[in-house]
């Protein structure tokens, strides 16, 4: 699996979790006991037992601001076969989104996840649409089985930061 993802993702692409502005991260309709950090934070997300679960119905709305401008290349969403997410819509630079206005804007990209995707195969996005991303909104519209609860084990964002395209910035990140 790791070999597969490594081959699918270009060498220059890095895991963007280091550039997430955690103080601004928001997830709507998450269950209080199974919250977003379980799926998004390094360490927690590697554990398949720690899940992000939806609460009132199957939809989830995740807002992720970044500390700097990034380019988004690919997305990994891992989940169980039954309750894993199916239709995922991505919006770049849309703040203050809610379930009520999620259909008011055209998504930057829409992905329908397959079984392979749920096991960890990255979904390559329309790269040109995500060249200048300050914040990303992930809207999980439904899940594979149509049940009331959606479960997500892992969310990984691959891309590059605009600054780290030059080598100086890249070194600075590696120092951490």
């Amino acid at each position: 699996m790791s070999a597969e993802s490594a081959s699918a993702i270009h060498r220059n692409q890095v895991d963007l979790s280091d550039f997430i502005d955690w103080s601004g991260v928001e997830c709507l309709n998450q269950s209080a006991a199974h919250s977003l950090p379980n799926a998004l934070k390094q360490g927690y997300r590697e554990d398949d037992g720690l899940l992000l679960e939806s609460d009132a119905d199957e939809q989830l709305l995740i807002y992720i601001p970044f500390t700097q401008v990034v380019k988004l290349y690919a997305l990994v969403v891992k989940g169980p076969e039954e309750e894993g997410p199916k239709t995922v819509k991505l919006f770049s630079n849309r703040e203050h989104m809610g379930f009520s206005n999620v259909n008011d804007f055209p998504p930057s990209d829409t992905a329908v996840l397959s079984e392979d995707n749920l096991k960890g195969k990255p979904v390559v996005l329309k790269y040109v649409k995500f060249q200048n991303v300050r914040s990303l909104t992930i809207f999980i519209e439904d899940n594979q089985s149509g049940s009331d609860i959606t479960k997500v084990q892992k969310i990984v964002l691959h891309g590059t930061t605009v600054e780290t395209t030059d080598m100086k910035g890249l070194k600075k990140v590696e120092d951490h």
Binding site: S23, V25, E26, L28, N29, A32, H96, G98, F99, S100
Partner: protein, 402 residues
């Protein structure tokens, strides 16, 4: 220390003019809002509170969520009462205001003061509730004021749709001499979910409203005692609520049964009271107004109680009349006469018709001259009255008793 953004929805409909919560429903509500704002902003420096009104021309946001307590308090002045409350719109506007909060880390909470009847369907409220839940908004409801049919159920349904891990609460506050804000102090709406330590919240309460804390204990010095007091207050409040509910149910029951009862008892009481009323009039002409008011009250009480049966009526009446022995005597007389047999009313009227008896009573009263012309006139007119009344009240089957 919950980091929270709160929107408070105020009910400023016409129903808020009622004075059953001192000094008025609206003022009581304003006090409670001030108290909650103080507590919220002090429990965490980054907490923000906003205020909107649900009635009037439409839902109006007075302050968007801010941590500036002065701004919040200032907006509460000069609010106009008018129109009807639109709960659904109010909650949705509040949710919109919370959605655009600056600090996304803040939990969202809406506090609704619902003092007027709710015209919306239960279904609509539940739908709004689910929407709030989906958007991770907690909802606190203060149910006070109007107690029309179905209001508590609607609010409970709304709360049930929102509630997630017991973060939302509802408080029913029946009218009582205690200020609305004092009642709220002991509730989870005010103290939060108890995460920050109740003593802390109580201290905030004391700071926010200097006279607000009436337990006589400084909660910052002895948080355990404060907690114990708060718990007992909560229990007492729950007990009172239950008692009020029970009383309301009991009052509803006999009313239905009582309506079918024959009206002969009512007639007895009317005559008895008119007799005693005229005696009282004779006795104290100068105090007539006060006396009349008292009598009216006693009469009303006894009339009410006839519906719930003899025993209750008798005891109630004696209680009502303890501070006026003459009145007690008169009432007792009328009741006893009424109880002796079914023709009690005739006896009573006869008794009153007997001028010598009445004048002997009047003569025995201190400070009343039976020969006074005004008293004589009154007696004469009273006799006529009772005669007329007797004729009216009598059924044809009782004619032989006249």
């Amino acid at each position: 220390m919950v980091l929270e953004a709160t929107m408070i929805c105020i009910d400023n409909s016409e129903w808020m003019r009622n004075g059953d919560y001192s000094p008025s429903r609206f003022q009581a509500q304003a006090d409670a809002v001030n108290l909650i704002c103080g507590a919220k902003t002090q429990s965490n420096p980054e907490n923000t509170v906003g205020v909107l009104t649900m009635a009037g021309k439409g839902v109006r946001v007075l302050v968007t969520p801010t941590s500036d307590l002065g701004k919040i308090l200032a907006c509460m002045h000069g609010l106009e009462i008018g129109g009807e409350m639109n709960l659904a719109a109010g909650i949705q506007v509040a949710q919109l205001a919370l959605k655009h909060r600056q600090n996304k880390k803040q939990q969202q909470r809406i506090i609704v003061f619902a003092g007027s009847p709710i015209k919306h369907d239960k279904k609509l409220l539940e739908m709004i509730g689910r929407k709030l839940k989906k958007n991770s908004v907690a909802l606190d409801i203060v149910d006070f004021g109007e107690e029309d049919e179905g209001k508590p159920e609607k609010l409970e349904a709304l709360l049930a749709a929102v509630n997630n891990n017991d973060t939302s609460h509802i408080v029913h506050v029946p009218p009582s001499p205690n200020a609305l804000s004092d009642v709220l102090i002991s509730t989870p709406i005010f103290t939060g979910d108890g995460e920050g330590g109740s003593g802390y919240a109580a201290a905030a309460a004391a700071a926010a409203a200097v006279s607000g804390f009436d337990l006589g204990v400084d909660p910052s010095l002895d948080p355990e005692l404060a907690l114990a007091l708060r718990v007992s207050m909560e229990e007492e409040r729950a007990r009172q609520e239950a008692a009020a509910k029970k009383a309301a149910e009991e009052a509803a029951k006999p009313e239905k049964g009582g309506e079918q009862q024959p009206s002969s008892q009512d007639a007895t009481m009317t005559e008895g009271a008119s007799g005693s009323a005229s005696e009282a009039d004779n006795k104290k002409d100068d105090l007539m107004d006060d006396e009349n008011a008292l009598l009216q009250q006693a009469l009303a009480m006894s009339m009410d109680d006839t519906t719930s049966g003899h025993d209750v009526r008798d005891t109630d009446m004696s209680e009502a009349a303890t501070d006026d022995p003459d009145l007690a005597l008169a009432l007792q007389l009328s009741v006893q006469e009424g109880d002796k047999d079914s023709s009690g009313q005739t006896d009573m009227s006869k008794l009153l018709a007997d001028q010598s008896f009445v004048s002997s009573i009047i003569a025995s009263l201190p400070g009343v001259d039976p020969n006074d012309p005004s008293v004589k006139d009154l007696l004469a007119s009273m006799q006529n009255q009772s005669q007329q009344k007797k004729d009216e009240d009598k059924g044809p089957n009782e004619e032989e008793k006249q």
